[in-house]
């Protein structure tokens, strides 16, 4: 266990089997893991930090987040969340984390907001009475009071995101993991959502947050440090100012372009 680290990754590698179809899939029902998604990624995130993952599609951001949420097992290397190993102690890891993805189909659409939250609270070992208290507690700061008695299918995407964040925070996790949290939001709703994250999650609770995003304005606004991934490799990991200085660029976008161009090209 690594002390004083919310997240600790050491040479994490992840390989997937090639996707086969037709007769090849029939001949090789269980393929070898040959397609790299993450190659030797290492970094640490101290408690309370907001940490962003950026990179092109297929860079390995979502794979990395899925490893941290125990939905994937790393092929090699070690990943620890709150001091617990994701492969060996997944239940303890899940106790530490709240997880929310940017998709809006992540609830039971015909249940009300409250019914959904009570269900997920129960699955996180929270009693009915404690769940009701917690939902009431989250209702005002998360602005979900009016949504609780409505079926989720009647809610806007922005409101579903608020409900999703409330669900992720139900069991008071110390680490929040977000995969493209504003992917399906319009610009105004996304800006409001970011303000909300900063004020209510990071500001009010001091929660550690790691998120993946393609929206660079969001990364600049939220993140204390930024990890740049390319082809499964960690190209750089620094503050916004540090990245700009390292690339000799004026903006994050330019920094990413320069860092990505500099990266050695390799065959998988």
């Amino acid at each position: 266990m690594v002390k004083n680290s919310a997240l600790h990754l050491e040479n994490v590698e992840k390989y997937f089997p090639p996707s086969l179809s037709g007769w090849r899939a029939f001949v090789h029902p269980v393929s070898r893991l040959t397609v790299p998604a993450l190659r030797g990624v290492s970094f640490e995130v101290p408690p309370g930090e907001v940490f962003a993952l950026v990179g092109a599609n297929g860079a390995g951001k979502s794979t990395l987040l899925r490893i941290l949420t125990t939905l994937l097992i790393p092929t090699r290397g070690r990943a620890q969340v709150g001091g617990f190993d994701v492969a060996r102690e997944p239940a303890k890891v899940r106790l530490q984390i709240g997880y929310h993805t940017g998709g809006d189909a992540c609830f039971y659409a015909r249940l009300t907001g409250r019914e959904n939250l009570v269900l997920f609270a129960g699955l996180n070992n929270i009693s009915l009475a404690a769940a009701s208290r917690r939902i009431d507690e989250l209702s005002e700061p998360f602005g979900i009071g009016e949504l609780l008695e409505r079926q989720v299918r009647t809610l806007s995407t922005g409101n579903i995101h608020r409900l999703g964040l409330a669900r992720a925070m139900l069991h008071r996790p110390s680490i929040l993991i977000l995969d493209e949290p504003t992917r399906s939001l319009d610009p105004l709703a996304a800006a409001e959502f970011r303000r909300f994250l900063l004020e209510q999650i990071v500001g009010a609770h001091g929660t550690t947050m790691i998120f993946a995003s393609h929206t660079l304005a969001e990364v600049e606004q939220l993140a204390g440090r930024i990890a740049v991934l390319e082809g499964g490799r960690l190209l750089a990991c620094d503050t916004l100012a540090g990245l700009k200085a390292a690339a000799g660029a004026g903006t994050l976008e330019e920094s990413l372009e320069i860092l990505t161009r500099r990266a050695p090209r390799e065959n998988p």
Partner: protein, 277 residues
């Protein structure tokens, strides 16, 4: 956090998952009414079909005092528990993948087997209700004999059947977890059970060599016990061979199937295919 013992926590989770499915199902109000009338049509078609099935061999093979309609109705109604067990775990996994909740369920403090078990409760309760409606229509309109049936015995056979069938269901879900489509486990079990399980005819009408296969599927023990309890009015002690056979199947199948399921789940976390269709 809840400090209740693990067993109580698991029961609470099963209840929550049942409530979820009940709430979702009750939001589709017409479906339940349709179900009731579907059962009437099913029951009626077996009755009229049974009027044509007149064979001295069959009459000799049926349990004493039983007509073919009652025999077939019990067979068809309770065979559905096997079909349900083989499909319900797959279906709940597929549904969670489709509605996007699978990842959110898997990052909770609840294991996938508990999620699948909880998600199968409502389908089993609904099936039991449908079975009761089938038999109810049969009794009301077509003379299905309810009087004298050993209902507690039938419930015991049913509970043992669900345990044994669930072992097969978990095996079937393991296959789908890894290979996603086309399920030979399901196909082989249902195929064998349909032919030799005694759903539509007594196994005594099978050729002697095929009768041996009948005892390799739990549905044979289940239907034999059910018919003995409901139609033959057998006391519990006469049901013990059937219940014992089913419990033996459960004792062998459940640990093996859960071990295979754990392997399959780990495999999907390695290959990254857990949430793939």
């Amino acid at each position: 956090m809840n400090d209740s013992p693990q067993f109580l926590l698991t029961l609470r989770k099963l209840e929550l998952l049942f409530r979820r499915d009940f709430a979702v199902a009750s939001s589709y109000r017409a479906a339940f009414l349709i179900e009731i009338f579907q059962a009437l049509f099913g029951s009626a078609s077996f009755y009229f079909l049974s009027q044509f099935v007149q064979s001295p061999t069959l009459e000799k093979a049926l349990p004493r005092g039983t007509d073919y309609f009652s025999f077939a109705l019990v067979g068809i109604a309770f065979f559905d528990y096997l079909s349900m067990a083989l499909t319900t775990f797959d279906a709940s996994l597929q549904e969670a993948r489709q509605n996007g909740t699978l990842e959110n369920l898997l990052v909770t403090q609840t294991s996938l087997p508990v999620i699948l078990a909880g998600s199968s409760l409502y389908p089993f309760v609904l099936l039991s209700l449908r079975t009761a409606i089938y038999i109810g229509w049969g009794a009301l309109l077509f003379g299905f004999p309810l009087r004298g049936a050993n209902w507690p015995g039938a419930l015991l056979v049913l509970a043992a059947s669900i345990l044994a069938f669930s072992g097969l269901g978990v095996l079937s879900a393991s296959y789908l977890l890894v290979f996603k489509r086309g399920n030979p486990v399901n196909w082989a079990i249902l195929g064998l059970s349909t032919v030799v399980g005694g759903m539509m005819y007594p196994i005594s009408v099978l050729p002697p060599w095929l009768r041996y296969f009948a005892w390799l599927t739990p549905v044979t023990y289940s239907l034999e016990g059910m018919r003995a309890a409901i139609l033959g009015h057998a006391p519990i002690r006469e049901l013990l061979p059937s219940i014992g056979g089913l419990l033996l199947f459960a004792a062998v199948l459940l640990p093996i199937s859960f071990a295979i399921f754990s392997w399959a789940l780990r495999r999907t976390k390695i290959t990254g295919t857990l949430t793939h269709f």
